[in-house]
């Protein structure tokens, strides 16, 4: 195995490992948000969560695969590290952006559902009267 192929193998191992870990975090913790947003409906939360996670994996695995190839000359060990650093670094940033985007969207869904669930206005009345 030459240095370039080694770089590719390391890149794939690290990137796929990180993607699976972030995806698992999203799946486990996102479900709690969704159960709350859907008013305790566990089945619906599980379904939406699964759909979101599938989308996440598709986008991320797609990007990792697409971003694999490099035009760098990779012969020495030093070049292995340098090329890896750029590749893995970019994957991490993309993962981070998508992950934070997901968290933001989930938070907004929850905030909206909380607002709509309010039964009483945020201020008390000035007085009371008897409706006919």
């Amino acid at each position: 195995m030459d240095a370039l192929v080694l770089t590719y193998v390391l890149y794939l191992l690290i990137s796929i490992g990180l993607t699976v870990w972030v995806g698992h975090t999203l799946s486990r913790n996102g479900k709690v948000f969704l159960v709350d947003v859907f008013g305790g409906n566990d089945e619906l939360a599980r379904t939406v969560n699964h759909l979101l996670v599938v989308g996440f994996y598709l986008v991320n695995f797609g990007f990792v695969t697409w971003y694999l190839r490099t035009a760098d000359t990779v012969g020495e060990t030093r070049q292995v590290f340098e090329t890896l650093s750029v590749k893995v670094g970019t994957v991490l940033i993309v993962l981070g952006v998508l992950h934070l985007g997901n968290v933001f969207v989930l938070g907004r869904m929850r905030r909206r559902s909380l607002h709509q669930a309010e039964d009483l206005p945020p201020v008390g009345p000035d007085a009371y009267t008897r409706p006919a």
Binding site: R111, H115, E118, P121, V123, P131
Partner: protein, 124 residues
């Protein structure tokens, strides 16, 4: 809270415009509009001071809660889907000043537009 009765000044062009706008928005709580001081208003709320409702905008909840002026406007916004987060934000102490300014502006506009002598031609 399932419905709110808004007692609006039917003789004021600005008030009628505002009522039209509110009626068109998507509502989380049903808004029912009744002209202030009218027969239907007196029949619905026999114990209410109806002369006062012609001076200050009044909104009544379905359990008899009476909201006047600033609070009336706030509760109307709270009833609208798009404005509920804003209404909630406005109740915090730092933001009350905006609500007061908006209520003042509404009163000013009402006074201004009412000076025109409408009569029959002002019906919408």
């Amino acid at each position: 809270m399932t419905a709110l009765t808004v007692l609006y000044d039917a003789d004021c062009p600005f008030c009628r415009r505002a009522k039209g706008w509110l009626a068109r928005q998507e509502q989380l709580v049903r808004l029912e509009f009744v002209p202030a001081g009218s027969e239907p208003a007196r029949r619905r709320f026999p114990d209410l001071d109806h002369a006062h409702t012609l001076k200050v905008i009044t909104v009544i909840g379905d359990r008899g809660e009476v909201y006047r002026g600033e609070r009336a406007w706030l509760v109307c916004l709270w009833a609208l889907r798009a404005w509920r987060p804003t209404a909630n934000r406005m109740t915090r102490s730092g933001h009350r000043v905006f609500l007061r300014a908006a209520t003042e502006l509404a009163d000013r506009l009402r006074a201004m537009t009412k000076d025109e002598d409408c009569g029959e031609t002002c019906q919408e």
